[in-house]
Structures are given as C-alpha cells and as structure tokens.
Amino acid sequence: MEIVLNDENFEEEVLKSELPVLVDFWAEWCPPCLMVAPVLEEISRDYAGRLKVGRLNVDENILTTTKYGIRSIPTFIIFKDGKVLGQTVGAMPREAFEVKIGEILNE
C-alpha cells in the first residue's frame, strides 16, 4: 500500500523512515500522474519491506512542494536517511523505476 503523505506527516514518514522512500509528487489534474499511478501501486506491493512508496498531492501540500522546488509533475524523489538520493521528472515505465530503485537498494 502506498502511503498518503502530507505536510504534517512528511518528516515522520519520509525523512525519519528506516526504509528508503519513493515519493510521487502528483495532482489530480495531471494526466501522466494518473497514468503512472498503477505502476506505483505495483511497485509498493512488490517492494514491500524493502522500500516505501508515498504519494504527495502538490495542491494540498504547498510547504513540502515548495521545499523541494517541484515545478513539473509527476516528480519522483527517492529519499534515504532523510536525504534526496535521486530525482526524476515525468512518467516512466516500471522497468525504469526498477533500475533507479535497484541502484539505491544495492548500496
């Protein structure tokens, strides 16, 4: 299950997380965000226990969106130990996510 992130729980769920976290910055009006949503659902299921997947609605969470300078969505950021380890913009197929996640999990 993906975690619903917001300005209030971001620190606890992402920055202080034991596991690496893949965060999807998205909004309802963004077609590519909607099209990539099933892929993220699969990833959250298949990587359970190794990686957390969280979705942050940019319309409802201005503070976090501004803090990370999000100007295009979907933006995906992978956090580990509170740090940004990787960032990409735009919808991607599952394989592309797996490559990026693999790089980080193998560290």
Binding site: W29, C30, P31, P32, M35, T65, G69, R71, S72, V89
Partner: protein, 316 residues
C-alpha cells in the same frame, strides 16, 4: 522467443487503432508501449476536433476508451522499450517476404508484420540553461505543470496549434502568459489564434527567439533576441514552456526503414515503409497533419494492410 502475427510499437491513438483492427481480424497481436498509454494525445487537454464529440473529449478519456475497445477484441499489451528491430535472415522460401524480428530491452519477440506507431517527442530549444532547469521551471507539458504556476509569470515558446493551445491553458492559472514566436504571425488554426489574441492575460513577443534560460536552482527568466533588430532583452519568468515542434521516436530504426532528413518514416498510401511487412502510422510518419483523427485513420489502414500481408504469408 514469443511469436506473433503482428507487433505494434507504440500505444498512442495510431498504435491502439491498428491493434483494434488487427485484433478484430483475429491476428495474434502484441502492442509494446515504453512509457504510458495514450501517447501525446493522453496529455492533451480537451480534444475539440475529434469527430463525434461535439462538446470535446479529454485526451486521457479518449485513449482509455480506445485501449479498452482494443483489449476487448484480444489485443495483448505489454510495457517495454524496443531497442532494436532487425530482419531475420533471407527466408528459406525464395520470393516470399522476409520475416521480421524485434529485440526488446529484456525479451525478444518475432512477428510476421510490424507496425511502427512510436510517435514523437517535444523538440528542445538547445540553449544554455534548458537542460539544467528541466523540472525547475522548464517544461514541455503545460497540462502537466501549468497549475503549479498559479499567479506567476510564464512564457511559451512557439507559434503553432500546440503552442497557442498550451498558452491559452496556462493563462487560466498564470498571472501573465507571454508567447514568444520567431515570426510576426501565428501558424495556429484561426479559431485558436482569435482566442489567444483576445485573451487579456496573454502577451506576444514577435520575431524573437529564446537564446538562454536564466536561473540557478530555478528559472528566473529568459534571454530573448529580436531577429529583426538583433537586440537582446530579458523577460522575467518562473516558467518556460517549450512548444517548438517535435522529433520522431525513430532512433532505434535507423538503417532499417527509409526516413526523411528529420527521421520521420516514409510510407506509401497503404502505410507500408521501404521494407515489405513493416508499416508506420501516426505522428511518426512523414505527412502534413498530425492529429488524433489522422493517427486513427492511418492506424486502421496500417492494421488492415498488415493483416493482408500476414494472410499472404500464411496462405503462401
């Protein structure tokens, strides 16, 4: 290696329509899509010129319907980027067509006929600052990013239908939308031009090009050169939306089928490329008009022609 009658590369309107036709003809068909379904059409705002929808239809809605329709008739769809297309060795039977084979990133597939519906991607400005600021104010998709620029100043570069439509969409959110165009008039369809010119939140900078995107961590402005006077000016902006045309997704097909100088695939009126049994349809074809309705029409023709080719192969 899995074998198919027809493999379609690309899941936009052209590819999905081709798949609808081949699946209905009972061809064993696989469609491969590397990103997300619907292609460029899925990120369009309301499509107003697709026949049968007098109130318009959202791009994503139209594409989801088309996909559902094709899958209903048995089209198999997989996610994957094709990195290579190659022809199998000369066929054992003389005079008969060649067999085609595709190499995917991780798997390999074989098919009798191939349909290329790989579409296009946005052309970049290729100016300093652009690459560095992608996702930080430089965007190629107003419908994806426009609302993030609420009450900000944005610029749109380009003068065609897409540029003006994107500018109109942005004007719903942005404080001011400035369209920068290299000519002194728009190329967009008249009805769209009129909407733009009469929009109080839009401004125009004519006969000018962007020579640099300014800003360190985020876009702060653009440097604009007037082509007539040669003078530079700096426009303050938070967003730069680039809509200066498209580049075909055909890198993996270089040397396989005939293309024009820009990489668009050349076909005959039946959508067949320079190689028998390989077809192309939609935006990736060299042609006059790139629209959902033309993509669908070509997809139908390509699907039908591929079906005939497969029939001949199997029958012969």
């Amino acid at each position: 290696m899995s074998e198919y009658d027809v493999i379609i590369i690309g899941g936009g309107p052209a590819g999905l329509t081709a798949g609808l036709y081949t699946a209905r003809s009972k061809m064993k068909t696989l469609l491969l899509e590397k990103m997300v379904f619907g292609g460029q059409a899925a990120i369009a705002t309301t499509i107003e010129n697709y026949p049968g929808f007098p109130k318009g239809i959202e791009g994503i809605d139209l594409m989801n319907r088309t996909r559902e329709q094709a899958e209903k008739y048995g089209l198999e769809i997989k996610s994957g980027e094709v990195v290579k297309v190659s022809l199998s060795s000369e066929d054992e039977r003389s005079g008969s067509p060649l067999e085609k084979k595709i190499v995917k990133t991780s798997e390999e597939y074989k098919a009798i006929a191939l349909i290329m519906a790989t579409g296009t991607k946005p052309r970049k400005l290729v100016v300093p600052g652009e690459e560095r600021l992608i996702g930080r104010g430089v965007s190629y998709c107003a419908t994806c990013d426009g609302p993030l620029f609420k009450n900000r100043k944005v610029v749109v570069v380009g003068g065609g239908d897409t540029a003006v439509e994107e500018a109109l969409f942005l004007s719903r959110f942005a404080e001011k939308t400035t369209l920068i165009h290299r000519r002194d008039e728009l190329r967009a369809t008249k009805i769209i031009q009129e909407r733009a010119i009469s929009n109080p939140k839009m401004e125009f900078v004519w006969k000018s090009i962007v020579t640099e995107v300014l800003g360190e961590a985020e876009v702060k402005g653009v440097k604009v050169r007037n082509l007539e006077t040669g003078k530079d000016l700096i426009l303050e902006t938070k967003g730069v939306f680039v809509c200066i045309g498209t580049v075909p997704n055909t890198e993996f097909l270089k040397g396989v089928v005939e293309m024009d100088g820009e990489g668009f695939i050349i076909t005959d009126e039946n959508m067949e490329t320079s190689i028998k049994g390989i077809y192309a349809c939609g935006d990736v074809r060299k042609k006059l008009l790139r629209q959902v309705v033309t993509a669908c029409g070509e997809g139908a023709t390509a699907g039908f022609a591929a079906g005939q080719y497969v029939g001949k192969w199997k029958g012969g």
